[in-house]
Symmetry: C2
Subunit: 314 residues, 2 copies
C-alpha cells in the first residue's frame, strides 16, 4: 500500500547520477530535477544511486544535497534518500538525544516496525553513531519513560500468529487490574507490552474489550496532559492500527496554525514505501479532505513538491 | 583457542551420514563411531551432516541420536551437534523456564557472547520455541533478577573499541556510590551494566579500581548467599575475563562429591570451538591438574570419551 511511484522504465543508475550532478552544478540548483529523480526511486534504487554517485564524483550524494539545498526541503530529501533502517536510526538518535516526555518517535520506531526492521535500525545505529540505541535511550530518558522505552527499543518480538488464549485472558486481567488501580507504570504492564508478540497482544486487547466492556485505550484516557498515559496509548495504537496512529500524527502536524514539518516529513518519508496509501485513506475518511490537498495547503515550494511526489501525485 | 580437532582430510558428508546410520542400526549402538565422527567436526560440517542425514534417511539426526543413546552422553551429543546459536537457545530456554536465582546460564549467554551471536540466539529461539527469549525470561524471572536479566538478554551492545574516558569516570563514580550504599539493584547500576559496550565497561571498571583502590567485584562481595550479588559479579566476570569465569564453572562442576554434568557439558560443548584451550590453561593454573585429567577422573564411559574428544585429546 505504498504511494511511491517508480517509472516503468527506470533510467540507468549512471544516468541518474549524471542528472543529479547536473542539478547541483552551476548557478542555482535544479530542485525539480532532484525531485523528479529521487522522488521516484525505491530504496534499492536510491542505495545504488548513492553508491555510484560516491564512486563517480568522490563525494557523498547526501553531502552534495546538503551543500545545495536547505531547510525543510533539505531535511525531507536527506531523510527520504537514506535507507529505511538508517533513516529510522537518524530519527531515533535525534529523539533519544533530545529526549522529552512528549516525543513519541521512539515508540513509533519500536512498535510500528517488524522485529527484523527494528533490529536493522539497531545495526544501522551502531554503524552511524558508534553507540547502541538502547544505551542512548537509557542515558537520556528518565523514570517511567526509561522503564518503558528501553525494553521497547530492544524488543525482538516473536512474529508468528500463534496465540495462547489462556495467557491472553490472564494478562488482560493483569492489565485491567493495574489500570483500575492507576498503576500505569507497573512492571507487569511494561512486561506485557514490551515482550509479547503483536498477535498475542491483539488477542489480549480483544479479550480485555470483551470482558471489561471498554477498549483498553479508553481506560488509559486520564489526564490529557499525562504524557506517560499518552505514550502507553501510542504503543497500543502502533500495535493495533499503525496507519490510523500515523494518520493522527499527520493530522496533528497539519492542524492549527503553523505546521509541524518534522512530523509531516517523518510520516511521509518513512511510510511512502510502506503503507502511506492506507494512511491517506484514513486521513480522507477522518478529515473529509484528501491528504494531498491538506499537505498542499500547508506547505509550499520544493518541499511541497517533494511531499506530493512521495504521496504519489502524478 | 579452540580444542576441537578436525581431521586434515574430512570424509564426504554422505560418508559421515552413512557411518552414523550404521552406528545407530542393528543390535546396540556404536557409540565410539558416533564420537569419532561428530566429536571431530566443526559447526558447519555438523550442520551439513544434519541436513544430508535428514534428506537421505527421512529422519532428523537428532531424533536418531535420541532414540539410540541416553543420559549425560545423549545430552552432550545433542547439545554438541546443534548449531551454536540453537544450542544457546536450548540452554537459555531451560534456564528461563526453570528459572531460579542461582541459575547463571542466562548471564553466561548474554555476557560471554558477541552482540551478533546473542542476536542469533534470539533468532534461533523464535524458530524453535515460538516465543521470544525476553518474553520467557520476563515471564519467569522475578524482582531484581528480572530487572537485570531482561535488558541483559535483549542487549545489542556496540562493539567498537572507542572509549569515552569522561563517561568511564562519571559512571565508575555512580557505580561506587550505589555499591557503597548497598543499592545493588539500583536502576543506574543496571543501566550501565546492560547498555554500555564491553570496551566502555572495561574502562569504567579500570577507573573504578584506580580511583577507589578495589576491583569492583571485590566491593560486590557481600553475603555469599546473596544470589543477586553473585549474579552481578558473574556479569562483570563474563565481560572482563570470560575464560576465567568459565574455568570456575568447570571447577565447581567437578569439585566435591558428585559432578554437575549439566554445567560441565555446557562449558565443554559451548566453548570447544571457541576458547576451551584458554579455559583449560586457566584450569591447570588454578588447580595444578590438567582439565582433561580432572574430567577423566569425574566422568566415565561414552560421556567421558566425548568430552575428552572435545577437549582435543587424541
Amino acid at each position: 500500500m505504498a504511494t511511491l511511484k517508480v517509472p516503468a522504465a527506470v533510467p540507468a543508475v549512471a544516468d541518474d547520477c549524471e542528472q543529479l550532478r547536473k542539478a547541483f552544478e552551476g548557478w542555482g540548483t535544479n530542485e525539480e530535477l532532484i525531485i523528479s529523480i529521487l522522488g521516484h526511486r525505491d530504496a534499492a534504487q536510491r542505495r545504488a544511486i548513492r553508491r555510484a554517485y560516491a564512486e563517480t564524483y568522490g563525494q557523498e550524494l547526501l553531502r552534495s544535497i546538503t551543500d545545495e539545498i536547505s531547510g525543510d526541503f533539505e531535511r525531507a530529501v536527506i531523510l527520504w534518500t537514506l535507507d529505511p533502517a538508517e533513516r529510522d536510526a537518524v530519527l531515533a538518535n535525534e529523539a533519544a538525544r533530545k529526549w522529552q516526555p512528549g516525543n513519541r518517535v521512539l515508540v513509533e520506531i519500536a512498535c510500528a516496525r517488524s522485529s527484523a526492521q527494528l533490529f536493522a535500525v539497531r545495526q544501522a545505529y551502531h554503524d552511524r553513531f558508534k553507540h547502541s540505541l538502547e544505551e542512548d535511550v537509557a542515558a537520556h530518558a528518565t523514570g517511567d519513560f526509561r522503564k518503558l522505552l528501553v525494553p521497547l527499543v530492544t524488543a525482538y518480538r516473536y512474529e508468528g500468529q500463534e496465540v495462547n488464549t489462556r495467557l491472553a485472558h490472564s494478562e488482560a486481567k493483569i492489565l485491567h487490574e493495574k489500570i483500575h488501580h492507576k498503576k500505569y507504570s507497573d512492571d507487569e504492564i511494561i512486561r506485557i507490552l514490551t515482550t509479547r508478540s503483536k498477535a498475542q497482544l491483539l488477542a489480549t486487547f480483544n479479550y480485555y474489550n470483551d470482558e471489561y466492556g471498554h477498549r483498553i485505550n479508553k481506560d488509559l484516557k486520564g489526564d490529557p496532559k499525562d504524557e506517560f498515559l499518552q505514550t502507553l496509548r501510542a504503543v497500543i495504537r502502533c500495535f493495533t492500527c499503525p496507519e490510523r496512529y500515523l494518520e493522527k500524527v499527520a493530522r496533528q502536524a497539519i492542524a492549527g496554525l503553523g505546521t509541524d514539518e518534522n512530523a509531516l516529513t517523518r510520516v511521509i518519508t518513512t511510510r511512502a514505501e510502506v503503507d502511506l496509501k492506507l494512511i491517506a485513506e484514513a486521513y480522507q475518511k477522518r478529515n473529509s479532505v484528501p491528504l494531498e490537498r491538506a499537505v498542499a495547503g500547508d506547505t509550499s515550494g520544493d518541499y511541497e513538491r517533494l511531499l506530493l511526489a512521495l504521496l504519489g501525485q502524478e
